[in-house]
Structure formats: structure tokens, C-alpha cells
């Protein structure tokens, strides 16, 4: 069954949603949207680095995304004017990556695949990376769930309860880098942040607790992945963007439903 490219693609989308659901909820709660963008856009630079140094692509992306996520979260803790700084970092990282890729002679790089994903070309090896990464992130977030929530509400409240907001921030930073690395094949660097934010935002109007919002985001992400893939097959549209469009449609439906209640 795993020989079928469509089944593998669906499994990739479903696996990714396991991680993007709960992580996306934190991205929304902590207003880290641009943070996600900056980290995801750094992935292209990671691709260039990996190809240039003959490293596995996933490792290159993971390293660069991790470096970017650490820089951004350090700046955030120092209380810089974050919106502008993050905008500068996000766009420069992307541009720098594109420029760096053009310097690679003798390697033919299909940039489109890295920018928009190439989910229909997901191999069994990719599936192993995606599911391994997703389970790692999921286990990490479930393990730190209550401390993460407390630190998200109020850092001093977390400190008074004997927690370390810095450490919790680091958990999210690591999780974000892993998600960026594993989702490059599925939706591509440009749309990773969309898969974090849109399912979580779609779940928001339908729930009353943070846990329900995270689970709702997982389910909505899964439905969007499968639905988007089927739609892309039906209408011959690009798969990654179709998944994000499906998520956006679910967001619209949820917004209307939440309002009518």
C-alpha cells in the first residue's frame, strides 16, 4: 500500500498535522506568526548549506532553522521592537537562501519543490523523517504542556510556580526548528507558517479549552491535508498550496459557524 504515492502523500500530511496542531496553537497564543515565518524562510538557506557541504538536506535545514529560531527568540527576550526585526530577518533569510542556492555550481536544484513542497514525491524515507519528527514534537509538547501554558499566560506567574519561562521558550524553539525541517517536503518553506497558524485559528472559535484547541487544530490539519490532496488530484492544482487553501476554507467555515452560535 505504501507504494502508492497518494497514500504516502496523505500519510505525510496527516503526520505533519500531529505536530503543527499543538505547536500552531502556541504560535497563535504567543503571537509568534512572524517568528514561524523567519524560521521557515531560513530553510532555503539550509538547503543551500546542505547541498554545498554534501550534508543530508533535512540536517542542513534543521541546523539553519535552529540557528534562526535561537537568534529570533534571544532577540525577543531582549525586548527589541520585534515586528520590524522579525520582518527583516524573515525576508532576508529567504533572499539570502535563494542567492546562496544560485552559487551552487554543478547541482541542479528544483527550488519550486523547496518553496512550495513536493508532497507527491514523498518517499518512504521522507515518511520516516516526517513521522519521527512529528512524534518527537508531539511527545515534547505533551510532556511540557502545563508549564508551557503557564509560561504563555504570564512569565512571572510561571516563575513563581517554580518554572523557568526561558526553558519553556527553548522547547518551543526546538519544536519549531524540527517542524520546519520535516514540513519542507509537504508544503514548502513559504507555506509552513500557514500550516501552523490556519488550523489553530480555525479551531479557536469552536472550543473552550487550550487542549481542545490543540486537538481541533490537529484534526483540521489532517482534514485539510487529505482534502487538499484530493482536490489537487481532481483539479490538477499544486498539492502544497491546495492543502493550505483547504485549511483556509475550513477556517472560513469555522468562523461562520462560531459566529452563528
Amino acid at each position: 500500500m505504501l507504494d502508492d504515492f497518494l497514500i504516502r502523500a496523505m500519510l505525510a500530511g496527516v503526520g505533519l498535522s500531529l505536530a503543527t496542531g499543538p505547536l500552531g496553537a502556541f504560535v497563535v497564543w504567543r503571537r509568534m506568526a512572524y517568528f514561524g515565518d523567519a524560521t521557515a524562510h531560513a530553510a532555503i538557506l539550509g538547503v543551500a548549506l546542505a547541498l554545498g557541504a554534501s550534508l543530508p538536506i533535512y540536517l542542513g535545514i534543521l541546523l539553519v532553522a535552529l540557528a534562526m529560531a535561537l537568534v529570533v527568540s534571544t532577540l525577543a527576550r531582549r525586548g527589541h521592537a520585534m515586528d520590524t526585526t522579525l520582518g527583516v530577518l524573515a525576508h532576508s533569510a529567504l533572499a539570502l537562501g535563494l542567492v546562496a542556492v544560485s552559487f551552487l555550481h554543478g547541482v541542479r536544484v528544483d527550488l519550486t519543490a523547496f518553496l512550495f513542497g513536493d508532497i507527491l514525491a514523498v518517499s518512504r524515507g521522507d515518511l520516516a523523517v516526517i513521522w519521527g519528527g512529528a512524534l518527537l514534537v508531539l511527545v515534547g509538547l505533551v510532556w511540557r504542556w502545563a508549564p508551557l501554558l503557564t509560561a504563555t499566560l504570564n512569565e512571572d506567574l510561571a516563575t513563581a510556580s517554580g518554572l523557568s519561562p526561558k526553558r519553556e521558550q527553548l522547547v518551543l524553539t526546538l519544536a519549531l526548528a524540527v517542524v520546519v525541517a520535516m514540513s519542507i517536503k509537504v508544503v514548502g518553506a513559504l507555506l509552513i507558517a500557514a500550516m501552523l497558524i490556519i488550523p489553530a485559528a480555525a479551531a479557536r472559535g469552536l472550543v473552550r479549552t487550550p487542549e481542545a484547541m490543540a486537538i481541533g487544530a490537529v484534526l483540521i490539519g489532517m482534514v485539510a491535508s487529505v482534502g487538499g490532496l484530493l482536490a489537487s488530484l481532481q483539479w490538477d492544482t499544486p498539492a502544497g498550496p491546495s492543502i493550505v487553501v483547504a485549511a483556509a476554507v475550513l477556517f472560513g467555515v469555522s468562523a461562520v459557524f462560531a459566529k452563528s452560535r
Binding site: W29, R31, A146, T150, L153, N154, D156, L157, A160, S161
Partner: protein, 248 residues
């Protein structure tokens, strides 16, 4: 041993110094009120005492295993986080439903478990924050401007509740307030800050005096008292304006 002891503590905010050379101890079971005008460093001091901010100089020692119940001034969390009162009270440590129910009843918001935190009024929210702090059986309660936004009867009721739970649970209370003249009457000590400790003393309970009645009415049930400052001139703050505020 003191619960918390600060020795020669100086605190910076960015590059600017906000507090200098503060000596302060909190003993078990006492009520300490810290007052000072805006920008006097009270909230920064509170954050340093609970461990959220490192002093630029001096040392802060907390008793081993000290349990702190913190009541922040507000929670500025994103409206996209759905959060019921029940869930909030179980953060980060899960509490039993009956514990939650009896604590909510104790602080005067019985049956609020299923309410969204966002939908509460200022006074209700303050009580839910207090309930969460108390569920941890704290050795010391630290409250950052808990009465801001409450009217005078609201403040009186909150002080009364605070005094009751202090008596029942035996915890120390450290209360920060911007009100320079009217403090919780059961305060064992009042510390006035303005960049440093300006003066320290006990509140004058004048609830029987006719002037007090004229100023505060009779609805406060003796929960409020005046604090008489004994500053030298160098840390004088705008007392005249403050007095106008109270009379208004």
C-alpha cells in the same frame, strides 16, 4: 528564618536604575504593604523577590522550598487562548474538582468553573487569580496592585477577604499598592518606596475618628487605614495631588 530576605538590593530596568540599596525581610505570617508612586520600582521589587528578575547588586535569599502564591496585576494573554476558570486553576499543577469548587466559594466566586477567564469582570478576575495562588498552599502571597480598578467598597471587601485567608492559612502577605495614604489596616508594616526605601512604619488605625468617617464613609468596615509618612524632604512625592484623588 525569614521567608525572603533582600540585602543591599539594587535593580535596573534596562540601563536605568529603578531601586537602590533595599534591605527587606518577609517573616512568616506577616502582612507587608509596599507603597510608592508610579515608577518607584514596586513591581520590579516584587518580580525580584519572586525570582523573575536578577538584582544588579545585592542578594535575595528565599527559604528553601518556599511556596509563593503570586497574584499578578493582570494577565495580558492573547484573546485566541480559550481558557476556563477551571483549567486556569489547574495550571501548572492539576487540582481536584472539589478543591477548586471550595476555593472558588472561599474567595466569593462560587460556581465559576466553566466561565471563560476573558469574560470575567475586574473584581471577579482578581478573586480567581487569588484562588489560584491559594490552591498552592503558599507560604507567602504576593499581590501586585490587586485593588487597581476596584471601587472603595470593592477594595474594602478584597482587603477583608485577604485578612481572612491570611488568618486561616497562616501565609505571609506582600502587597504592592500605588495608594500612598490608604493601606490595608492589618498591615504589620508599611514600606514606602521611591527609588529606595523612603520610610517604613505601621499604619495608623483611625477608623473611629470622625474625619476618617467623613473621608471614607462607613462601608469599609475598618479594613483601611491611613499611613503617616515620615520622610525627609529628598524623596518627597506629590502628596497634595494624591489627597485630591482620595477626596474625589
Amino acid at each position: 528564618m525569614s521567608l525572603i530576605s533582600a540585602k543591599g538590593v539594587s535593580l535596573n530596568y534596562g540601563a536605568a536604575s529603578v531601586l537602590q540599596d533595599v534591605d527587606l525581610t518577609i517573616e512568616a505570617g506577616e502582612i507587608v504593604t509596599v507603597i510608592g508612586p508610579n515608577g518607584s520600582g514596586k513591581s520590579t521589587l516584587l518580580r525580584a523577590l519572586l525570582g523573575a528578575k536578577d538584582p544588579a547588586a545585592g542578594s535575595i535569599t528565599r527559604k528553601g522550598g518556599l511556596r509563593i502564591g503570586y497574584v499578578p496585576q493582570r494577565l495580558a494573554f492573547d484573546a485566541n487562548m480559550p481558557l476556563t476558570v477551571r483549567r486556569f486553576l489547574s495550571l501548572p499543577v492539576r487540582r481536584r474538582a472539589d478543591e477548586i469548587a471550595s476555593m472558588l466559594a472561599r474567595v466569593g466566586v462560587a460556581g465559576f468553573e466553566a466561565r471563560q477567564l476573558m469574560s470575567l469582570s475586574g473584581g471577579q478576575f482578581q478573586r480567581v487569580l487569588l484562588a489560584r495562588a491559594l490552591l498552592g498552599r503558599p507560604d507567602v502571597l504576593m499581590l501586585d496592585e490587586p485593588t487597581q480598578g476596584l471601587d472603595q467598597p470593592g477594595i474594602a471587601a478584597f482587603y477583608q477577604l485577604l485578612e481572612e485567608v491570611r488568618r486561616e492559612m497562616g501565609c505571609a502577605v506582600l502587597l504592592v499598592s500605588h495608594d500612598l495614604h490608604v493601606v490595608m489596616s492589618t498591615s504589620d508594616r508599611v514600606i514606602c518606596l521611591n527609588g529606595h526605601i523612603c520610610c517604613e512604619g505601621t499604619p495608623t488605625v483611625v477608623s473611629e475618628a470622625p474625619e476618617y468617617r467623613a473621608l471614607f464613609g462607613v462601608g469599609t468596615h475598618g479594613t483601611m487605614a491611613l499611613y503617616q509618612h515620615t520622610h525627609a524632604g529628598h524623596c518627597d512625592h506629590d502628596h497634595v495631588d494624591e489627597e485630591h484623588d482620595h477626596a474625589g
